[in-house]
Symmetry: C2
Subunit: 428 residues, 2 copies
């Protein structure tokens, strides 16, 4: 147990140091957690180890103080990395549950067709460009190429929403479309992930199989929401009759875990089930109380997930001074370009809105954040992504997240100065 | 991951069904979690399995749906039981952290010498009676006898406090002494556990070693509190300057985990460190906010611990219809008698309070609850307790907890009718 507790301490310190640093630099804290993970992980300090690596500084240290034999040291290490990996998986399930709980389906239906079109374009363009580019230019096999292409689709709502509110643009027409599209994008992205991860597991790319997966993911999500509407009053009545501590939280977790297992059983991903559970429970009047209780759990478990992603990523495969790494670097650059262009063009798909800032909408769709990292984590865990491609995806996520806030400021700033100029012209 | 999520669902359902049932019967919910665990565990339904048992219904079911080979099924089972066991251990660490956070050192110093004396008598009498009785009457070796004797010492504050408040006796002289002694008892009990568990690990009972352990436990606890007073302003200032989500919770967990590891390193138990961290942070002005955030985490993890204790206990070793079980049953009855007598005599140690209800004070000290279960869990995990003795301890905890509320009602009821009679006499 000591090695697990020490690992958690190291993870939390890395998460908080990185997070606080990034907040001070006006960057999202999740980026800090990721970079904190890179620093303590296999790329640099080797404080944490994973199956496939040989031990870690923490277990070596504990082994030395307790005079363990190499065999029991190894089993200690296996146990520690197993438990931490499972805590991180529990973290991503809680994360998706929380994202679902905070998504407002009614709000989404209100923003409507404009946002949906932006979201769909923003999923299809980078996915097609990325997958075809990786296969044709770099000769990467279909499955990893599809996986990397899919990782280009997901965007982050949190980062954009924060920058938009800083700029006072959250209520503008552009801001509303961006946020609406981001919520839609989360849902599409999670369906894409469920489909792609399942493809990767079975290894067969048949149209009928892909069709089955897409249909079952959509049916699962819509079915869960409809069934939820029907069963929600029952759930609320049950909670109100229960008298023991934590009745709301535990009941919600049971629903989230059951849907996660169901999603796994029909060959989709567990996180799709957790997300669906969040969407369902968001429609009850217990939403606020539940959010408040899920927050500390997410504070405790989610950083483990992001730090572990960083710690697992071997950035040394992108060291530019080694000639054999050139290709990985070129791939990373390619992904970055596709990630930016593929989202910026979404601005062009806005119709019937003369004078709208298309450039700002496109730029607002750039940052990848949490869901992109979830893709990278699943790809690396399933072992189908070559290490260089995995590192390239992480670099893409880091750079788009770094670039988006300043670009967004420029995009809206320009628009403001233009509209000011127009105003000035009109006053003459 | 599916097998872990399913195990958690089963654990939560057992915890909530048992808890709600016990609440309706005016019994503490923790008893329901324990009994829920017994029902789903190795005694009855075999839904959960542990290292040492052969598989579980859950992994067999998942193995059948996914067509796993016996080897991969076994590794699935090992991983699942390992992770659940570690989550339970994390649960007990959070539990002790929360108990520490809710203990009020100032309050304790106020209640003073009277409560301390009651607590010390209530630790020494059952410990000595139990250990010597088990060794001399039943011929049990010293270490398991000491362990079982120690399990008789801890009492539960939660159960008594609830019954007292129902009876409107929380502010009475008797109520104040009982609560003060219970808080003191928690501290003494955790020190006794740290010492006894360490004895069990090393296997040597030398006076010098016992002396070292008691001194180091006391020095650790007092040192942590004094150092905490010194460092608390720094901690509060740091929290106030941090800007990322969950800064208070994560910082508190880091302190709790670091102290837990430190306690382990000096051969004590991790939970002593978590308890010390709770005591320290209870003295800051962040106490309320922190309690609120720790509560959902404790709601999520602590039931795992109690259900697992129940699930691990093989009550079939106490089946009265098998002749070879007679001795275990006799031991259980012996422990129960010592547990009750050893606490009831504490009422006699109250001095200088003419007319006080000594019987009520003694009865108020009976219920064992959480900390007693922690003893049983540590004994069973370390493998030093024979299965029958372990089951006998669980039975003792269940029965004392069952018996205390009605006995307490009778004890205070009697006293009330007596004092009413006195009043009536005086009015004439």
């Amino acid at each position: 147990m000591s090695s697990i507790l020490l690992s958690l301490v190291v993870i939390y310190l890395a998460a908080k140091l990185g997070g606080e640093l990034c907040t001070r630099l006006k960057l999202p804290p999740v980026l800090g957690e990721l970079i904190g993970g890179v620093v303590i992980g296999v790329s640099a300090l080797h404080l944490l180890g994973f199956s496939g690596t040989e031990g870690s500084v923490i277990t070596d240290l504990l082994g030395a103080t307790a005079h363990l034999s190499p065999e029991s040291l190894n089993s200690l290490f296996q146990n520690q990395s197993e438990v931490i990996a499972n805590l991180a998986e529990l973290g991503v399930i809680i994360l998706l549950f929380e994202i679902g709980l905070e998504s407002d389906l009614k709000e989404l239906l209100r923003v409507g067709s404009q946002a949906t079109l932006v979201a769909v374009v923003g999923v299809i363009v980078p996915f097609v460009l990325g997958t075809i580019g990786l296969m044709s230019i770099f000769g990467i096999p279909a499955i990893p190429a599809i996986f990397a292409g899919a990782a280009l689709t997901a965007k982050s709502i949190g980062i954009t929403a924060k920058v938009l509110s800083e700029l006072g643009q959250l209520q503008s027409k552009e801001g509303q479309i961006i946020i609406g599209a981001a919520v839609m994008d989360d849902i599409l992205g999670i369906i894409v992930l469920a489909v792609v991860a399942s493809l990767a597991k079975t290894g067969k790319i048949e149209l009928s199989h892909i069709f089955y997966l897409i249909i079952s993911a959509a049916v699962f999500l819509i079915g869960a929401i409809l069934l939820g509407r029907f069963l929600n009053p029952l759930f609320v009545a049950l909670i109100d009759r229960m008298q023991t501590r934590g009745q709301l939280l535990i009941s919600a977790l049971v629903i989230a875990f059951v849907l996660s297992v169901l999603a796994s059983l029909i060959q989709l991903e567990a996180i799709l089930g957790a997300f669906a559970a969040g969407l369902i429970l968001a429609e009850t009047d217990k939403r606020e109380a539940l959010s408040l209780q899920v927050k500390p759990i997410s504070d405790m478990l989610v950083p483990i997930f992001f730090v572990i992603i960083g710690a697992r990523t071997d950035l040394s495969v992108l060291n530019p001074f080694l000639p054999e790494n050139r290709e990985g670097l070129v791939i990373a650059a390619f992904l970055l370009v596709v990630a930016i262009l593929g989202k910026v063009v979404t601005g062009l798909s806005v119709f019937g809105q003369p004078g709208i800032n298309r450039w700002a909408i496109g730029v607002g769709m750039i940052p990848r954040g949490e869901v992109g990292l979830v893709f990278a984590a699943f790809g690396s865990a399933s072992g189908i992504l070559p290490r260089s491609l995995n590192a390239a995806i992480i670099v893409m996520v880091i750079f788009t997240t770094f670039l988006a806030p300043p670009l967004l400021r420029v995009a809206f700033g320009q628009s403001k100065s233009v509209s000011k100029a127009v105003e000035q012209l009109e006053t003459y």
